[in-house]
């Protein structure tokens, strides 16, 4: 009976992910997910060994209240941090469950204290290891995304060598732990894994965070898997594998969006102090600067506008003002669409959520492959808070660090408007030659303020 109920719950989780193939079916998917979770929890509560309903109920209420409070209050622009924070909790929970299984193996029927089955010990320590890495890695990712810690990659000598040594040390400790089952070694594994989690995320820069967040998502799944093997629980194994696969695929999509291998991102150090060669003397080149009225004039006289949002839009919270601008243009009979680069923002799908929050219909929001061939037929590209994802150097300059990265071909549209705070380079540190083209107009200022000013000029 228990196995059947767990199976139903696992199937519901699969349907929950399946629902996300389309916005219309996605809400039903979420309900499947919730139902699956309720079934899983109640099935477990029906176990004969589970007697302390009050304590468990209280724990669920406390956790649920905290989770609900945070989820309802959070700003959509802060989503990446929130997701990172949540991942850290999954990792920590995995560590605690593993510890509980270690201290009371009878409750999980994996042996007795001091004589736990070897297989269970191995699985338990792997679960602990991945859980602890997920925990500390996510905490650090959270700090970088929140801005409490500098987003700059921190690189030092022999970094990867040290990480490799620590990894070997952990394997050695796991072997030792399996042999003598000592609590001291268990906690040493936990602490060293936490340290390794920090060290792994430290060299990775702010804009590579989409990959890191996806990777940690994946780890949290594998941690659940590890615990699932320990408890011989298929539900945990299935769910963990689903989550693990999901995070791995997202990491793959994200690093492909930057034309870099996952390994390259993980090794980190990108966007740091290097690439000084790229900022070669552009000082004498002329930049055409414009203001909100110029932008309003240019767009009003166009037939089609493609808006390219980037992380800068999220930082300035410009999505609502931007949508307002789009609405006015649409009323004028101008075709307005949005082009989303896979790595725009700080987490997969970040821009889509922000635009959806601002009530932009999702039909107008298109992915790179869907819209890229339309740029030559487009009159105005309105780039707001994005830079590297439009840089033609990715196609032409083999020496550029971003060479080979798929970009949005804004340069093919008749004119380009760039909303930017300054001439500063993007995350990659590479100068964008587009800024100096004749058909480019730079609009310097805060993204939100600029959109509001354009709205004023348009309605005037």
């Amino acid at each position: 009976m228990v196995a059947i109920l767990y199976l139903i719950s696992a199937l519901l989780f699969i349907f929950a992910l399946r629902g996300l193939s389309h916005p219309e079916s996605s809400r039903m998917g979420n309900i499947f997910g919730i139902t699956g979770m309720i079934i899983a929890v109640f099935t477990t509560l029906m176990f004969k060994s589970v007697l302390s309903y009050y304590e468990i109920g209280a724990a669920i209420l406390i956790g649920g209240a905290i989770g609900s409070f945070i989820a309802l209050r959070i700003e959509m622009t802060a989503l990446p941090q929130l997701v990172a924070a949540f991942h850290s909790l999954v990792g920590l929970a995995a560590v605690f469950v593993a510890a509980a299984a270690f201290y009371d193996p009878v409750a999980f029927s994996i042996g007795k204290v001091g004589s736990i089955k070897t297989a269970s010990l191995v699985e338990m320590s792997i679960g602990t290891f991945i859980g602890a890495i997920t925990f500390s890695g996510s905490v650090l990712a959270f700090g970088k995304l929140q801005g409490t810690i500098s987003g700059k990659p921190i690189v030092f000598k022999f970094q990867h060598f040290i990480n490799a040594l620590i990894f070997l040390l952990i394997i050695f400790l796991i072997v030792l732990f399996v042999i003598n089952q000592s609590p001291t070694i268990f906690w040493t594994i936990v602490i060293i894994s936490i340290l390794l989690g920090f060290l792994v995320v430290i060299p990775i820069g702010g804009a590579d965070m989409p990959v890191v967040v996806s990777m940690l998502n994946s780890y949290s799944g594998w941690a659940a898997c590890g615990i699932g093997f320990t408890l011989s629980n298929n539900l945990l194994i299935i769910t963990g594998a689903l989550v693990g696969a999901s995070g791995a695929i997202l990491s793959y999509i994200m690093s492909k969006g930057m034309n870099r291998s996952i390994i390259n991102v993980v090794l980190g150090g990108f966007g740091g102090e290097q690439d000084t060669s790229a900022s070669k003397d552009n000082s004498d080149k002329i930049v055409k600067q414009g203001n909100a009225e110029d932008a309003a004039y240019i767009m009003k006289n166009a037939d089609s506008v493609i808006i390219v949002p980037g992380y800068g839009m999220a930082v300035a919270q410009a999505q609502h003002a931007l949508r307002e601008m789009g609405d006015i243009l649409k009323k004028e009979g101008i075709e307005v669409r949005y082009a989303i680069h896979p790595v725009a923002g700080r987490m997969p799908g970040h821009m889509n959520v922000l635009l959806a929050e601002a009530n932009v219909p999702y039909e107008e929001v298109l992915e790179l492959d869907e819209i890229n061939h339309d740029f030559p037929m487009t009159e105005v590209s309105f780039v707001i808070g994005a830079n590297d994802v439009t840089n033609p150097a990715a196609k032409t300059d083999e020496s550029s660090p971003i060479f080979g990265m798929p970009i949005l071909d804004v340069e093919k549209s008749q004119s380009v408007l760039f909303v930017k705070r300054s001439m500063a380079t993007g995350y990659s540190g590479v100068d964008n030659e587009l800024f100096y083209r004749d058909n480019t107009t730079m609009l310097f200022g805060d993204a939100k303020k600029m959109c509001e000013d354009i709205v004023k000029s348009l309605s005037a």
Partner: protein, 105 residues
């Protein structure tokens, strides 16, 4: 006994690989626009680890294992409620808007 436990492990491994394959295909079918909600949902369901925490917190009385279990239940509950709610919030923003805006005009 040994043969039995290795059998259990192989069954687990079978389930694991099949689930990975299902996960692979299901996740590729997710539309890129919904990748953020996908992270929200996966985050919520990975907290199914609460099952293990409840088992640990189950027995009466108080010992180390039970305390760890209860902490696990709290942590996982934060994620379950938080994850599903934040996903719900994201997804409700992806409702069809064309009709609504027309009504307003």
């Amino acid at each position: 006994m040994e043969a039995h436990s290795s059998e259990v492990f192989v069954i687990g491994l079978t389930v694991f690989f099949l689930a990975c394959i299902i996960g692979y295909y299901v996740v590729w079918s997710v539309t890129p626009a919904l990748h953020s909600p996908l992270m929200g949902v996966t985050n919520a369901i990975s907290s199914v680890i609460i099952v293990g925490a409840i088992l640990a917190a189950g027995p009466q009385g108080f010992d180390t294992s039970k305390i760890f279990g209860l902490i696990g239940v709290v942590l996982a509950s934060v994620n379950i409620f938080g994850g599903f709610l934040v996903t719900y919030r994201m997804l409700s923003m992806f409702k069809k808007k064309t009709k609504k805006t027309k009504e307003k005009e």
